[in-house]
Symmetry: C2
Subunit: 143 residues, 2 copies
DNA sequence: TATTGTCCCTACCAGTTTAATATGGTATAT
DNA sequence: ATATACCATATTAAACTGGTAGGGACAATA
C-alpha cells in the first residue's frame, strides 16, 4: 500500500514537461539530471507515457519529449492509473464469511473513491504554475 | 499501491473475534475454516496482532484468541498500520528539483491523511454490529 | 500422569514485483 | 557522416508476497 518510485518519477517527468512549456521538446538527459532519475529508467517511463498518449516524442539531434495534451487536462489519477494499473485495489474477498467480506469491500471502495477523487482534482497545470511561482519569486513592487 | 491479502485476513480475523464476543477464546482453526484463511498463515497474523497488543492468546486445550481491547477502541487505521507499516507512503523525494518534490510530497500527504481519516473512523465494534444484524435478520413483527 | 489440542516460534521457499542496467537498434537534425 | 536523440527487448539483484513445514510450550482433561 505505497506509491512506487516509478510513479513518482513519472510525476516528476510530466511536471518537468509542464513547467518547461509545450513549445519545444525537452530532452530526457536534461530531466534525468535535474530530477536525479536513472536515465534508462526514465526512458522506459517516457515510452509508457507515450503509449498512453500523454506525451509526444520527436527524434533526432534536437528531439525530445513534450506533452501531447494541455496540462489542464492531465490529472494525477489518470497518470497513476497508467503506472500502477488501479488506485488502491484489494485482494478479492471471495471465500469465507460473505457478510464480513461485503462490509470490508464497501470500506475499501470508499477509501479508493476518496483517493481517486483527491488525485483527480490536481492537474499538471496547477503543479506547473505553483512551481514556476516558487522558482521566480514575485517581483518586489515596493522597491 | 494495493491492499495485501495479509491485511485483509487480519481484518477478517479481528472482525471474527469482535463478532464472537470477548467472553471466551475463539480458536484459530474455527476462524480459518469459516473465513477460508490458510491456517498457518493465520497463526502468523495472530502472533503479530498479539505483539501489537490488540489480541490475547490463551494456551491449552480450551485456548484460543480474544480481543485484548474493547472493539470500540480498535479502528482500521490502527490495524493497517500494524500490518503494512504505514498507510500510503511514497518513496522519498530527495534528490532532484526540490520545488517539485515538495509539491508532490504535499499532495501525497493530503491523500494519506484522507485515507487515514477514513479508516480511523471505522471501528471493529461497528463492523461487528452490522455483521450481527445481517446474520440474524430482524424479527418479523407483523406475523 | 499421559494425552491431546491449543498457542507459539523459527525457518524456509517459490513466485512475483521493483528498480534498475545492458545492449542494440532506428530516426533525424546539423 | 555522425552525434544525439528516441525506441525496444533482455537480464538481473533485491525485496516482497503468500504461503508451508516442523517443532516446541502449555494447559485442560481423561
Amino acid at each position: 500500500m505505497k506509491v512506487s518510485s516509478k510513479t513518482l518519477y513519472t510525476f516528476q517527468f510530466l511536471s518537468a514537461l509542464a513547467i518547461k512549456g509545450r513549445k519545444t521538446p525537452v530532452q530526457l538527459r536534461e530531466i534525468a539530471a535535474e530530477y536525479d532519475i536513472p536515465f534508462k529508467f526514465l526512458e522506459q517511463i517516457a515510452i509508457l507515457m507515450k503509449g498512453v498518449g500523454l506525451v509526444r516524442g520527436t527524434r533526432g539531434k534536437t528531439g525530445g519529449y513534450q506533452l501531447a495534451v494541455p496540462p489542464e487536462n492531465i490529472d494525477l489519477a489518470r497518470v497513476i492509473r497508467a503506472t500502477e494499473g488501479e488506485v488502491l485495489p484489494c485482494a478479492d474477498i471471495d471465500g469465507g464469511n460473505a457478510i464480513v467480506g461485503e462490509l470490508l469491500s464497501e470500506i475499501f471502495a470508499r477509501q479508493r473513491a476518496a483517493v481517486e477523487r483527491g488525485l483527480s482534482s490536481v492537474t499538471l497545470a496547477e503543479i506547473a504554475e505553483k512551481a514556476r511561482r516558487k522558482m521566480e519569486p514575485a517581483p518586489m513592487f515596493y522597491v
